[in-house]
Subunit: 373 residues, 2 copies
């Protein structure tokens, strides 16, 4: 094995691929990145059992292959080496059976290889059902849903985001049963597919795909889903089980609908929850008074109380009422919107309410209030 | 108690004062900031037993005092409130015996007070011996020494920086007995004083004083030292005990002196210590060969080895030799220099060596090598 590669090209790919290198794997071999040097290209592969990532780099003036071969190198150290050297080109040479030399200007690394034969066979499933989505839509789906998934493994299926492809629509839903996030994309045509993808794995994918115009192919199989983005393959396992039907939970008749400046309501709620923000139940109360002014209130036995007055942009009907909910859930929901103005649609004092944003099409957040004395 | 104050003025002072508010104090009262409202000024005071800080703010168009009084408010929450509100002016009003109202535009905070009577009397000792130092020199002393102090309380006196004022010179020394950092300042005249200041407390002081031309008064008493900087008083306890006499440890005859580009030697050593940087003893070897080239080498049983070649700017005499030392200590020492070029003065293979920088006057770092097989 012998090749030379431009440092910046290798680094940008390694940063992506090493996302799937686990630091505490059950299988020590999975701390490694597998480098396969073929005649016309090299591949870098990693896997932590949850996700597998592969980058393919074609020969060019930036990658010259002199001798083929396969090797598994410790991922964390390989990345650090490539980050820290300041050479333009880097040379990889198998030196002995178990040593790869990495030469970069006046730096000379001898890196012990891991056992290539022990590396599991990873098949990137390229067949079955496929849809094409542009990156910006995919990033929207991830950003607007994953935070609402459950962190508790008590009901494993709720730790994922449900992707439901049907009727030329891709519907993404996440819920931890106290709140729900939903976003859909209208598509040209779709196969009929329902899968639940671990929300953390979608967050990892989101770190790899950039905010540029580019298409992503999504290949679905029974137990896995594969994302093809530029020269990168990103594959995640699916969560087994049936995701609850949530469409009936979403209210359609509202008591009143109040529109806020997004930044203003965020700032007010952040202040209102200052004394309770470190606590699991940082519950705040919201009141609409007869003047159409919203008051946000929270209290803490030891520290004190906060009262925030917010003048909404619009209020569909001034019906005095009070509701209490988690400030954390509300803030996370509002931050998922790109619109400068958001509307909260209330259905009653102890009924779930939803949030929408003028420019955030086909997107809603739902929050269950709490009962308070 | 009743006053109004410009938010930015209060915030900039609170950020400093709350540095001495402990989050886990033995005395709950010390989680508070004491606000004393006098006729012409207010003071903000905090103390954690180690350090005490007081800011004094005079009345002006930015501070209007309507009613005098004293109150102790929870420091952490007070700071967060002032950080998060976006009003131009903030109103403080004692509302009930134990509640202070903080009004800022549409935000209304009721903050429970702590027991004013329980707040300890803090005397800022303003008398005794005094020297005046400019901020830039004080920051130099702190930056160039504190990191070399000991973290172990086995020999308490070594956890501090020794300030020795004598013969129109202020000499600062820190050592953990494996390395030593020393910087002195020539002064017009000095009293004869020797004190040991906890190095962490100097680091805290460094966060408060800005990189501007300003003088700092330093007042020494038997158990404390007080720094007066702008409108801020910063007082720290001293460490009891006799600091060892270190002047005899510093070698004056050298085997060879090698000058490096600072950034180049830092980068080479960072790479050379990549495989051992997480470990307590990240020992690297440095060799000068007969061509006048420096080789830096380290090895790790499991991961591999690194060899870095460095071409020094200058080498006073080419005497092939080898030395081993802690990469961490070496890097910390070099980063204390402002000069673009640094010189390492070697005295022998197992003898302490010192580092100096062309533009870093009256400053040296000393490192003890280690014996390796």
């Amino acid at each position: 094995m012998k090749f030379s590669i431009k440092r910046s090209l290798l680094l940008s790919n390694l940063v992506h691929v090493t996302r799937a290198v686990s630091t505490k794997p059950q299988m020590p071999i999975l701390t490694g990145v597998k480098i396969e040097v073929n005649q016309k290209y090299i591949t870098l592969t990693s896997s932590n059992g949850e996700i597998s990532i592969q980058a393919k780099i074609q020969t060019s003036s930036d990658l010259v292959i002199l001798e083929q071969g396969v090797v598994v190198l410790p991922g964390k150290y390989l990345l650090e080496i490539i980050r820290k050297v300041d050479a333009e080109m880097i040379y990889f040479i198998r030196f002995e059976e178990n040593v790869v030399k990495i030469l970069a200007d006046r730096s000379n690394f001898s890196l012990n290889t891991l056992d290539t034969d022990a590396y599991p066979l990873i098949s990137f499933n390229n067949n079955d059902h496929m849809v094409v989505l542009d990156v910006l839509n995919l990033k929207q789906i991830i950003k607007k849903t994953t935070f609402a998934a459950s962190l508790s493994e008590a009901r494993m299926v709720l730790t994922g985001v449900n992707l439901d492809l049907t009727d030329n629509k891709l519907l993404a839903v996440a819920t931890d049963s106290f709140r729900l996030a939903q976003k859909f994309i209208v598509m040209d045509k779709t196969p009929n597919i329902k899968v639940v993808i671990p929300s953390h794995n979608l967050d990892e994918l989101n770190k790899i795909i950039e905010d540029i115009e580019e298409n992503v192919e999504i290949h679905f199989s029974k137990t896995k889903v594969l994302f093809k983005y530029k020269n990168i393959l990103f594959q995640t396992r699916l969560i087994e089980g049936v995701f609850p039907n949530t469409s009936s939970l979403i209210p359609t008749n509202f008591l009143t609908e109040i529109t806020f400046h997004k930044q203003e309501i965020i700032a007010a709620i952040e202040r209102a929850s200052l004394f309770t923000s470190g606590e699991a139940t940082n519950i705040i109360k919201l009141t609409l008074n007869e003047k159409g002014i919203v008051e946000i209130y929270s209290t803490h036995n030891e520290i004190g109380a906060v009262l925030e007055e917010v003048h909404p942009i619009k209020c569909s009907s001034i019906i005095p009422f009070q509701i209490a909910f988690s400030a954390k859930f509300f803030l996370e929901a509002i931050r998922a919107f790109d619109s400068p103005e958001i509307t909260v649609h209330f259905t009653g004092e102890i009924k779930p309410f939803i949030i929408t944003g003028e420019y955030d099409v086909n997107h809603l957040q739902l929050i269950l209030p709490v009962r308070v004395a």
